[in-house]
């Protein structure tokens, strides 16, 4: 076909009209704010007035000297590690059990297990607050069945280690998503591999170690990195709803501290600097995990 000048022009116009509005929109409401955050992090700014003091890297220097930032960083990585172990163990077990074990009602279990993932984290936080509630909570009432005196533990009020209490709701809420991913990966493994292994008398455990694990490793890697990123980016919500970072800042994570510093204490520059810290830590951790989890990929023929 001969492309005349007008045809070419029409094509370009079409491409431009389908890409530029989206790009412009995306730049205004996502890219510009991200860049602006990097800029704000160099200022001392209350947000109330137009007055902004350029202070260079002072916010970052202050951050290094702020014990709560270190506490928050530790808590974030505690949640990352706990969620990776808890979610991956259970999600992998469920994915294998629902695909390879020949159980009846596998589809039913799969549907049920995903339910927590469609529920708002706010609702999950409120629900678990009632599980932990010292007076009318489920956990204390349950433990009281086995003791003479009624149990009255304030589960979210320990002076240390309260962050542990945030792990069960986070794991509970996260499993279904990664289970679905792993189920899809396992279903892509050709049946003939399992049939051959079966003929050679390999049991389920061997089949898991020698067929399933190597062939779904890429998906597991993606899952682990995704858990890390969503935790550093979003553990804020469950913390804010369940403890507001307390008691005494011991359950603060970077996201909740950012929110508190910016929107409660009006240190917007410092808050933006915490945002930059979240970006940097999640990029560094992604690279580190990529390295750590790297294995020779096995191509399925």
């Amino acid at each position: 076909m001969k492309t005349s000048g007008t045809a070419k022009w029409q094509r370009s116009l079409f491409i431009a009209s389908f890409t530029i509005p989206t790009l412009a929109f995306f730049c205004v409401f996502t890219i510009y704010p991200v860049i602006k955050a990097l800029y704000y992090s160099l200022f001392d700014w209350s947000g109330m007035s137009d007055h902004m003091d350029f202070i260079g890297l002072q916010n970052f220097k202050d951050m290094l000297r702020d014990p709560i930032v270190w506490q928050a960083l530790g808590n974030d990585y505690f949640l990352v590690a706990g969620k990776i172990v808890g979610i991956m163990l259970l999600a992998t077990f469920f994915a294998v059990a629902l695909t390879r074990f020949g159980f009846r009602m596998s589809g039913f279990f799969r549907s049920i297990y995903f339910i927590p993932n469609v529920i708002s984290v706010v609702v999950i936080g409120v629900l678990w607050n009632f599980i932990y509630n010292p007076q009318i909570g489920f956990l204390n009432a349950f433990l009281s069945l086995f003791t003479k005196e009624p149990v009255a533990i304030t589960w979210l009020g320990f002076t240390s280690h309260t962050i542990w209490m945030l792990l069960p709701p986070s794991i509970w809420a996260g499993i279904g998503f990664y289970m679905i991913l792993l189920i899809a990966a396992i279903q892509n493994v050709p049946d003939s591999l399992y049939e051959a292994a079966e003929l050679e008398g390999a049991n389920q455990w061997h089949q898991f170690c020698h067929i399933t694990l190597p062939l779904v490793w890429e998906q597991m890697k993606v899952s682990i990195i995704n858990i890390m990123m969503t935790t550093l980016n979003g553990s804020f919500v469950i913390v804010w709803i369940m403890t507001e970072g307390g008691p005494d800042n011991t359950t603060q994570v970077m996201g909740s501290y950012l929110y508190q510093m910016a929107f409660r204490q009006y240190h917007f520059g410092f808050g933006a600097a915490i945002g930059v810290l979240i970006l940097v830590t999640s990029l560094i951790t992604t690279v580190a995990l990529q390295r750590l989890l790297h294995r020779e990929t096995i191509e399925m023929s």
Binding site: Q10, F14, I15, F18, T19, P21, T22, L23, F25, F26, V28, F29, T30, Y32, P33, V34, A37, Y40, F93, F94, A97, L98, R100, F101, G102, F103, F109, Y113, I115, P116, V118, I119, S120, V121, V122, G125, L127, I131, I136, G137, F138, A141, F177, I180, A184, E195, E198, Q204, N233, G234, V237, I241, L258, Y259, G271, A272, G275, V276, L279, L283
Partner: protein, 281 residues
Amino acid sequence: MKLGLRNPAAKTIFYAILLVWSLAVLYPLAWTLLDALKNNAQFLANAPWALPKLPLLWSNFSYVWDKYNFDSYFVNSLVITAGSTALGLLLSASTAYVLARYSFKGSGILYLFYIASMMVPFVLALIPLFFLLNSLHLINTWFGLILVYASSVLAFGVFVLVGFFKSLPKELEESAVIDGASYYGTFFRIMLPLSQPGLVTVAIINVLNIWNEYVVGTVLINDPKQYTLPVEIGVLQAEMQYRTEWGPLFAALLITIIPVLVVYILFQRKIASGITAGAVK
């Protein structure tokens, strides 16, 4: 050949684990419903797993609906979710189609740009977004939240839909062009109807995420009349620490989750395929 677990003891134990986890997922939901039908006396006197006393207090639902303005929060959530899903889909589908079907200067970079942006934590943008919307006078408006949510789901939509458009056969488009259809005609009359399954998948995942969103809503909305459901739940739970209306609080939780449960039941398969498509980064 029948594959599966042969050891009967292992089979029983594993099956028991599956049942226990089903209970761990379903019980808190059942518990929410039971507690939504109780009054405070029942909360204090009976075990948390006790059934609600008759008559069941269905009035807790109408109480939060009327007294706590859940009618307007519900409408806010509905409008904002629908608006931002539609806008996000329109913007991502158009770009995704061009990226999937036309090669032009910068097309590769544009695609990578959207993919790479998914690595940036959205919390980073929170503070500047507040001031941006403030200067545009869009704080506390449906429209402001719609713009921000649409932008936040854009990259995911581009990513999934590029893959989807690439999987569609080219023949139909080619014959449409030969028949003299314009670029726009081809897209709107041929490609959009064909890509309906992909669009629906992306839309549903976005609906769930936007309906449930809390952080951005909390920052960009501070007028109680404009709250979305999750924002109100966060506020309500803090208030209830001294106001102790537990039954109504549980009713409020149910009002928030029932719509997403319905969407989930109707579109389970779509959701699963959307997750799988979105994770192959």
